[in-house]
């Protein structure tokens, strides 16, 4: 028998003592019962009574825990409350303070899920540092799923719509039933050997918790973890979260979304290529302009007879540029062609050889090589060289006619 110092407890003392004893002895208990007098207080705390045929127990679930509950509790529901016992001293009433409330019956799978999740998390399988980055433009995509389900159809139609240039490698597996886990594990382990696979989509359509169970198995989680290729998981609907989702490098809400995450839009990438080709075309156009200006300048000097060798080499450079561009233009993607053709035309119009081909000639003093720009200069020279596109002739000047202006 317990005694206070003067042989009597105050009520407060006694309640405090009972409370300490209860809290020590019942720090973590689970109790099955039916909910009644359920009340959600404005503070967010939940108050209710747990009862069976013969007895009742007050229960309280504070806001922090209430927000995390996976079950919506209400009167009449059979639940399992896990918590600690305590005494609410002002009323001298003992009660259970809940850590967790679950609907009775759903328990085992839920518990297995939570336990495995906790264990794998502690082991580091969900570690963000281990997550692999997805490739930007995968050309070879593996899909692990049932070959007959809705999931594969959704994935394929999305890939066809956004990124049809890729190749898809389907690893057919059962997504539920006894074969599901070993088949999924084997597919994950074999895919690296298939060669060139850049990303894996592991998916299945919606179903009950039992249907999705394969994706909550430890063996599948570990196979995802050790897969050297990035894995995107998409299991069930938005609200379904599986262990596979936690381990996967990326979680997608649905198979369609997985496909959208994995590939870009072809149009966007094509626009990037076009942009680069555009810049390439602009670069070569600038080069043509610069070099043309240089030749024009040299031609003026040539007219003054000062730079024979340099004009010859400049003309050769131009010819060379024309030839190369012509060959390139023949190989270029057709819709990029116009910019190059513009450059080519500009070059060709400028080439002295073109000018000669059109029927013009250049006359030089046969003795000095100076270009003759006036009839009087030709008379003074006496013997002149007339340059055609394919060679030159030497001529004697026999007379001169004034221009009729």
């Amino acid at each position: 028998m317990l005694f206070a110092e003067d042989g009597l407890f105050t009520v407060s003392q006694l309640n405090a003592l009972v409370r300490a004893t209860l809290e020590e002895g019942f720090a973590d208990v689970a109790v099955l019962g039916e909910v009644s007098n359920f009340k959600r207080h404005t503070s967010g705390h939940l108050y209710f009574t747990l009862k069976d045929a013969n007895a009742q127990l007050r229960a309280v679930c504070f806001r922090g825990v209430a927000q995390r509950l996976r079950t919506d509790i209400g009167d009449g529901m059979k639940v399992v409350v896990r918590g600690r016992l305590t005494v609410y001293e002002p009323f001298g009433q003992y009660q259970i303070v809940a850590y967790d409330v679950n609907e009775a019956g759903e328990g085992e799978l839920e518990k297995a899920f939570r336990d495995l999740k906790k264990r794998l998390e502690q082991e580091g399988l969900f570690d963000p540092a281990h997550k692999q980055e997805l490739p930007a433009w995968p050309m070879r995509i593996a899909v692990i799923t049932s070959p007959t389900g809705a999931a594969i159809r959704d994935v394929l139609s999305t890939l066809q719509r956004r990124w049809p240039c890729a190749e898809v490698l389907l690893a057919p597996v059962h997504v539920q039933g006894d074969q599901a886990v070993p088949e999924i594990v084997r597919a994950l382990d074999l895919l690296p050997a298939a060669g060139g696979v850049e990303v894996v989509i592991l998916c299945r359509g919606g179903g009950s918790l039992e249907d999705l169970w394969a994706f909550n198995e430890e063996a599948v989680a570990r196979a995802i973890y050790r897969c050297p290729i990035p894995v995107v998981s998409a299991v069930g609907h938005e609200t379904d979260v599986t262990i596979a989702d936690f381990v996967a490098d990326v979680r997608a809400a649905t198979p369609t979304m997985a496909a959208e995450i994995v590939v870009p839009r072809r149009e966007e990438v094509a626009a990037g290529v076009d942009g680069l080709l555009e810049r390439l075309a602009r670069y070569i156009d600038t080069q043509v302009r610069l070099r043309s200006a240089r030749v024009r300048e040299l031609l003026r000097s040539y007219a003054l007879g000062r730079v024979r060798n340099r004009i010859e080499s400049a003309m050769q450079t131009l010819d060379y540029l024309v030839d190369r561009l012509q060959r390139s233009a023949a190989r270029i993607v057709s819709d990029r062609r116009t910019a190059f053709e513009r450059s080519l035309e500009r070059l060709q119009a400028l080439s002295p050889r073109e000018i000669l081909l059109r029927g013009y000639t250049i006359c030089t003093d046969a003795a000095t090589g100076s270009v003759l720009r006036r009839a009087d200069d030709a008379v003074a020279a006496g013997t002149i060289a007339v340059i055609f596109s394919d060679g030159s002739v030497t001529s004697e000047v026999k007379g001169k006619q004034d221009a009729k202006t």
Binding site: Q160, A171, P172, L190, R266, L280, Y283
Partner: protein, 86 residues
């Protein structure tokens, strides 16, 4: 990355899209920022063109190719056409 098995069946596949794009980009940036002799500039230009063309060729494939992974009796992996309608 292991070499993919059927690399030879399509020229455009031998070098990936991503690698080709990166190379093209660096060629363009190079040309725009540097001073090159005619010969070198043209060489880069032509390489850029053929890279661009390769990218376009890859991107222009309009039909998703779908294959199914099959393990044969010897435990070897084979790829077969996937009949999506089944």
């Amino acid at each position: 990355m292991p070499k993919r098995k059927k690399a030879a069946d399509d020229d455009a596949q031998s070098e990936g899209l991503e690698a080709s794009m990166e190379k093209l980009e660096s060629i363009v940036t190079d040309l725009e920022s540097g001073e090159f002799g005619l010969e070198e500039a043209l060489e880069k230009f032509e390489e850029g063109l053929s890279l661009g063309k390769r990218c376009k060729k890859i991107l222009d494939r309009a039909e998703l190719r779908v294959k199914q992974l099959v393990e044969n009796a010897d435990g070897e992996l084979e790829e077969k056409e996937f009949d999506g309608e089944s």
